[in-house]
Symmetry: C2
Subunit: 212 residues, 2 copies
């Protein structure tokens, strides 16, 4: 049975799940969701797919999971990959996945949306400026942690990396300049050199170019 | 050995861990952190306690964990409580813990800080108005999910409840009116009726009254 992932190209949260599925070698396919047409926030989507009104959602036979960190946990169980080698690594991965949800991807995704996908006259300037400051603090934490490390946890690629990278390959501006954070820059290069890696716009259906 | 928790009364994120420890029956004590004096963001704290510059941090002998969701996971392993009965419940708990980190406690904590703990002339009005809108969407998701349910996952108190309630007992305004969300209101009442429950200002050291 092929795993199905509700997703769309612009969602870094969906990318975290899609990239975990792709690199795990599991058989999966994308189910395109029309986020910009309001699909995720519709009553039908909330009732039938995810009450939270979000992607990603993964369906594998009778199983249905939402939240990228939950899908990654399932992919790790099924494939034996990216979940860490012992309980210490498993908790350290969870620590970074939670931090990413709290401080990095959440704020990066929102700021990128406000700066790029809202009509120019509707962009809240004070909110954007405030979020850019918060994001800089998050980049500094990640850059410091990566000093002397190849990967966020242990010595191989894990869900911590697959979570924190969620928004960091996108070309649209949201105050993230790779060259300003050398450890993040090297780590992102290492991750995108991993055999099978794909850019979000190549891995999932839809991109700003399709809507231009 | 007594478990030590770095925390302070105003932190709903620390409350999630403190309440899990308290209700689990494990032996623990609070280590007060001077957040308002800048302790969590100091170089020493980042180097010696938590690079992320945050509470809570739990120390149990040689083990040191940060992120409330990680500490809850550890408390569940050690006490056998609040972690769910099977892997389906465990993943559904993780789903709500992640959602809480992404959409509820993160935004509630920040908004409460901006509205109450910044000097009045420094409060960013546009940011606060924007966040209040985002929070209302989050309250609606939780209130809908709790329709016909006593607890967020399964039929007993779990870490999903202990995470999502993190900021919801605080008296300072941040756009949360219990009476406007009857299912949340009932659920919070059920939780605070649990034997051993304590309000954050009774469970952890420090409160706005101490700084008045």
């Amino acid at each position: 049975m092929t795993i199905k992932l509700y997703c769309f190209g612009e969602s870094g949260n969906a990318y975290k799940a899609a990239l975990a599925l792709e690199l795990s070698g599991l058989d999966w396919e994308a189910k395109a969701v029309d986020f910009f047409g309001g699909e995720t926030r519709s009553d039908d989507y909330r009732a039938d797919v995810n009450l939270m009104g979000e992607v990603p959602v993964m369906v594998d036979g009778d199983l249905r999971y939402s939240q990228s960190g939950v899908i990654q946990d399932y992919v790790s169980e099924k494939s034996g990959k990216f979940g860490g080698r012992d309980s210490a690594e498993r908790r350290e991965i969870l620590r970074w996945v939670l931090w990413d949800n709290h401080k990095l991807s959440s704020q990066a995704g929102m700021t990128r949306f406000l700066m790029n996908f809202l009509p120019e006259e509707k962009r809240p300037k004070e909110v954007i400026a405030f979020m850019l400051g918060r994001l800089n603090a998050a980049y500094a934490v990640l850059n410091t942690h990566l000093e002397g490390r190849d990967w966020i946890v242990g010595d191989s690629l894990t869900n911590a990396d697959l979570s924190c990278c969620g928004y960091l390959y996108y070309p649209e501006p949201f105050g993230f300049d790779r060259t300003a954070w050398p450890n993040i820059d090297n780590w992102l290069g290492r991750l995108s050199d991993t055999p099978g890696w794909k850019h979000p716009y190549d891995l999932m259906p839809g991109s700003p170019a399709d809507r231009a």
